[in-house]
Symmetry: D2
Subunit: 345 residues, 4 copies
């Protein structure tokens, strides 16, 4: 049994993390923090946790003590706040899994440019927390920068193609759509129920912060400088991300060369289900689970490949991936607490 | 380890049953049947089960062999079909948990009157499968007639009041609402997406078949002949039932006498969460779980009590309850495979 | 052509009013106010009004001037604010249609008790703005207290039965459900998209402020002191109210006596569509229109009548009704600007 | 007053057409046909039309007589059936507006290749019914092949760029999403409520039949042979289409050259609302209306333009466009019956 704490548990990713950790047989949740609700019980904020979690919410003020009492600390704070926690825990043996963006970039200036804040923990020993690609680095990391939700779906869809040079990486266009839980739990007009119901829209076109995160991974895999288009959309539903990824096939690449690349990279991956050529992932097929379902289509008229991938944004796109990273880092079976059947319908 | 089979797995209750049984450590699913899709893999019909169930669907024609190879058989067929299975298995040691209505009524003529079919297995040794009320009878039953979805929510809401004579049972009005999964997986115009979206309606007013099932339990608990009103509504959502139950307080009954009745009956029940007086259950607080959340309100102006209860219609209202019954009947811990955190949001 | 102004146009009822008035051939909208957005264009707050309304939002500070420039003033402010406007305009010829609760009660103390504010315009010459029942009074009223949304559906469902003494008015239970637009446009956690999606709940049980408004009308129609139960529920949809109304039939009343009462009262009403005995109104059948669809069921086992009625909460339950009242008060055809086909699907 | 008939009124486009024609002051609807429901009243199939349409549904068998009695005939039949009607009416003065695909292609072999049926009315005098582009041709056409839903949104988004050679037309990728009403009213598993709720998916990737229709218009406007990618998605909502269109800017084209192209082409168009650079159309802003809202974004990192356009698939994408075409062809004001405020929220 190890001891873990959840810093910032009142957002949806934090709540999902508690749900997953509840079924983890090797983990004790020892501290849960919330600045806005310190002193309350978590089940007052999330009545679905009644009878399941009785913890009282603590304050981040005592992060050093919390850290000292925890083998792992999950951080589910808005970006810009995790690096403070990271600095304060840097001399403790505690390891960190950050669900935000602070530790996702190997080049800190990219972070500063897109997130418009100064990075205050530039020398952190960190790895990018996308297990299917960086598993070995995650194993011994001090700080794991858990991959973002859209980025997880996008990178997993494109990685085999980028790695094996099957596509022109600068032709990549990722058109993705997410359920509203991805926007967090703070009420605002844009997420007010009647505004979104029977409505569909794009947002942050050409400026979404997941863009450089996808580019970083594609560059890393392909060895090529990469700029892409990424466009997120908001779907009137609670959960789920579908990424529709377009790329021009490299010259000389035929349709038959696509499947082996996916098989080679993901054939043994527990959480990736390949639906094959001409398959159709649906977000509901993975809802509540840590799966990423992937399929691809070849358009011979335009010589493009279209890869579709579906995840649950709060699980494989956040809390599930964080626990997967924990399992790797702590030496547990990678699927512990994550082997759940998607909730359908 | 015991061996169980699922007869009629292609409806939503059957699929939910497979999802729950997947995490049951003492159960092997050995046979799954479907007449309309015999020979296919269950994951072809339900792609969310990819990598989880590889079973090929068998035919009910071989029910005797399936029965002989199973310790328990779950039946998830339309009403009128389970009694055939029951008769065919009556001399085998196999025990039966029927998710339909065939074995729910102690008075077979009530069944025949409301369901308009002749009952062909009248002498079946059967018990009503609502564990919180009939746990002892379930333990050794040959056939368990799993309680219906609306009825589970309604009976659990009213049982303590009926049993302790706190209400006039003939004043009971149950106004309930369900998500669309309760209507099954067969497409029809009434459940076609655009027809239901942004829409709300009642159906089967004064004639829904769950009416006599609620009456049977209230009569059993109160010892009084009972007729009630039950009105179901269809909510444009996938899952969940909320029952809003009205009754006149019996003369001399005060608001303070309500809570002790609930505490006495449910204080130790694992799957009932009492939210207390003036609480508000929401279907999403129990989604995907076997919980029934209950709260009550007293209107002193009208001298009525209003009890609210929420369940997931496919879990506590169907497959979860069935596994709870299995656990009791098989001597397992009652919450085995059922101790899941509700999926929120 | 008359001149009208809309006081408080930034809520959903105000926006719906603008949409209806846009197609009114005898009305000019001359002033629109908003305190929170004074100086902005209404289409900045409501982009669906682009190219349709260019008005700049004015401040309530100039209400006297606005009043002097308007034949009619619609007030769509939170309760407690309309009476200030009413007082300030009391010596002007301007007539007032208030969409809020301030002028709905003939007995001001009922208002004060349920709304917890002192009424500061007790001697206002006002009528209750439900045209099918109070048409004659509306014709010459100075102030029209437009009926509430749940109350419109409930009263129209029960009025013929109450008026003709077909039911025991103290047995009335109204169980109703509304889309989320009824809760207004201010974002809060309870109406945050992911919280409500795939969710259903009751609220304000035994305490909703529409209760005394229904009682007032039933008393007025039946001549009997009345207390009822009214329970609202929130449906994960944008628009629509369905009221399911229960009452015990009076002694000696048979099923056949119900229809004539409805026919007599509503046979010539333009906006009431009687679906008859055993009919099923659906909120989508009236969406976007000023219709109220009504049907009834008789349960001979319990001797109760169940009346179902459906309206669009923002049209017949608010803005449409307000324009219907305007048409009556201004001497226009009652259906001017209101004769629209419901939007389906 | 002219006389019009609706052939095939029981699908959603047909019902929407009836709703729009109801408010058309210069049109009498004289015949409505349905093969599956001949003899019924349209309001039995669509109760929202109660009190509005009393017409009895006739049979297509009498199409010649219906044609002879109609100035215009709208056809809302599945593809492959309109050409039969067209042939039968070819010698009558009746003019035809077909909402399906049969008359959309100038090159019949493209139709035959994508729709897999032989075209039996190859010499029809037909025009493509997208008024903003082909208005002059529509004016005197015998047969108008009303533009498809996805195609309307896509072509209107891209037309100014294609026409003024601002983009590389072969780099076009259209990623679009539609509400479920676009799939018609026939129930099937894929559109069964619980299957789609909280779900998002792509379909017909690289094979959707709207692809060649978009290509035809882009070729026509640009003068360049064009192949594009078009990917439709299904959104769990009733109505609305958003098209997200990507294209590489031609060499030498700067961001400032985009707006003038849109202004020039659409500045005087009644039904196109330009939201400008960096704007965000939402499907709900146009719901129930004939508007097409358009905005564009320039990504200087990738040198791509991203154009967003939103329509109501049943209005500007089908029935509204058909009436707009009627108005042009019959010499009415183009916005007659179409000047409605979008329904929000």
């Amino acid at each position: 049994m190890i001891k873990v704490s959840v810093i910032g548990a009142t957002g949806y990713a934090g709540a999902e993390l508690l749900a997953i950790l509840y079924r983890h047989p090797q983990v004790n949740v020892v501290h849960i923090t919330s600045e806005s609700h310190t002193g309350k019980k978590i089940s007052e904020l999330y009545p679905h946790l009644n009878h399941l979690y009785d913890n009282e919410l603590e304050s981040l003020k005592y992060i050093e003590a919390i850290g000292a009492d925890s083998d792992f600390v999950f951080i589910a704070l808005p970006h810009g706040h995790a690096m403070d926690v990271g600095r304060k825990l840097k001399d403790l043996p505690t390891r960190i899994i950050d669900l935000g963006a602070d530790y996702r970039f190997s080049n800190v200036s990219v972070y500063e440019q897109w997130y418009k804040v100064e990075h205050t923990h530039k020398d952190a020993l960190r790895v990018y927390g996308l297990a299917e690609i960086y598993r070995d680095e995650i194993r011994n990391a001090k700080i794991i920068g858990n991959a973002g939700c859209f980025t997880t779906a996008s990178i997993l869809a494109l990685a085999p193609l980028a790695k094996h040079h099957l596509i022109d990486v600068n032709s990549i266009i990722v058109d993705a759509a997410s359920g509203v839980s991805g926007a967090g739990r703070s009420p605002k007009l844009g997420n007010h129920f009647p505004e979104l119901y029977d409505n569909f829209k794009a947002y942050n076109v050409a400026h979404h912060r997941h863009t450089p995160e996808i580019e970083q991974a594609i560059e890393d895999l392909s060895g090529m400088k990469t700029v892409i288009n990424f466009t997120p959309h908001l779907v009137p539903m609670s959960r789920g991300i579908l990424a529709t990824c377009y790329a021009n096939l490299s010259s000389g690449i035929s349709a038959e060369m696509i499947e082996p690349a996916f098989q080679k990279m993901y054939g043994n991956e527990h959480f990736i289900r390949l639906l094959g050529r001409d398959g159709y992932p649906e977000t509901k097929y993975v809802r509540g689970s840590n799966y990423c379902d992937i399929a691809w289509h070849i358009d011979e008229r335009t010589n493009r490949v279209i890869v579709l991938s579906a995840i649950d944004n709060l699980v494989k796109g956040a809390a599930g991936q964080a626990v997967q990273n924990l399992n790797i880092a702590a030496g547990f079976e990678e699927n512990t607490a994550l082997d759940v059947v998607p909730m359908y319908p």
